[in-house]
């Protein structure tokens, strides 16, 4: 069995308004962050997972992302995978 460290990034789709991102952008500008054109907030999920090789693990992570970590009606996801 191989062990992998996976980092999943979940982001609101570009077409979905991100009010928390907008509020944070506004605060950032007040702090002196001039030049900020866009600020959007997503989630990062770290998973350690065992499996027989990268392909098997990718299949499992794809399922988890598609069914649980992200709601694909409003969110996109991507992930990076590192063999430990």
């Amino acid at each position: 069995m191989d062990q992998f460290a996976v980092k999943v990034f979940v982001r609101l789709r570009p077409s979905v308004l991100d009010p928390a991102g907008e509020a944070t952008k506004s605060a950032s500008i007040k702090l002196g962050g001039e030049g900020i054109k866009s600020l959007r907030i997503g989630k990062m999920i770290e998973v350690k997972i065992e499996g027989n090789g990268e392909n098997e693990v990718r299949e499992k992570i794809d399922l988890l992302c598609d069914r649980l970590f992200a709601n694909t009606v409003i969110e996109d996801y991507e992930y990076s995978l590192e063999k430990l």
Binding site: S15, P19, A23, F69, N71, V73
Partner: protein
């Protein structure tokens, strides 16, 4: 309806389960039964309410974890058999997360948790959930949510409009919902999800009775 029983689902974090039960039993004399979310035996209930609250603390996304409970798994057959399911607020979020209803509910446009009475247009007669016998076709119900902005893509919206699946629209959109949507049904009409709380409008003494019709319609076949 002598033995008609409405199952009121209780998740960890549900907080409107007792309100729903009170409204059904106390105001409408309809028998209720609490259903713990781990239960998958729906054989002795005739309709189901997914009440409001914060199931699983709204972790990950509202309704995202509740969707995997044994009860929700059992709900697919229940819905397929034509029995009626009403999802209120967090219940609506669970219904979209589990795919019973299209779209998703996301953070309110202005980020406020909104607690207010809102006027709603009754748009569709599908499922017989609302009384649109009179001309005004407007009801007033309370809302209380931070994540009630209905979102769907344009294809889904077209499908909702074309198939008359939009049940309720806000008169004055409080949260930025697409097309002012406050509630939708499935194509068959036996599943309704809405952000407003009909169970909080079932007695004049607490400000109105516009929610009674929807709760009463749970007993429709």
């Amino acid at each position: 309806m002598d033995n008609f029983t409405v199952g009121v689902v209780v998740f960890p974090g549900s907080n409107c389960d007792r309100d729903v039960s009170w409204a059904l039993e106390g105001c409408l004399d309809i028998r209720t039964k609490y259903l713990w979310h781990e239960s998958s035996d729906l054989s002795d209930v005739d309709a189901i309410v997914l009440p409001g609250g914060f199931s699983y603390g709204d972790y990950l996304r509202c309704g995202a974890i509740a969707r995997f409970s044994p009860l929700i798994n059992a709900l697919y057959e229940f819905v397929k058999s034509g029995k009626r399911v009403l999802g209120i607020c967090n219940g609506f979020q669970i219904l979209t997360e589990s795919g019973f209803l299209p779209g998703a509910l996301v953070a309110n446009k202005n980020l406020n948790f909104i607690c207010d009475d809102v006027e709603l247009d009754i748009v569709s007669t599908k499922g017989g959930w609302f009384n649109n016998a009179d001309e005004k076709q407007i009801i007033k119900l309370p809302i209380a949510h931070g994540e009630g902005r209905y979102h769907c893509d344009s294809d889904t919206l077209k499908k909702l409009v074309d198939n008359e699946l939009i049940a309720l629209r806000y008169k004055n959109n409080p949260n930025g919902s697409s097309f002012d949507i406050a509630g939708i049904t499935n194509e068959k009409g036996n599943v309704l999800g809405l952000m407003p709380h009909p169970e909080r409008a079932c007695d004049e003494i607490i400000g109105g009775t516009d929610g009674l019709f929807t709760l009463k319609s749970l007993i429709l076949k």
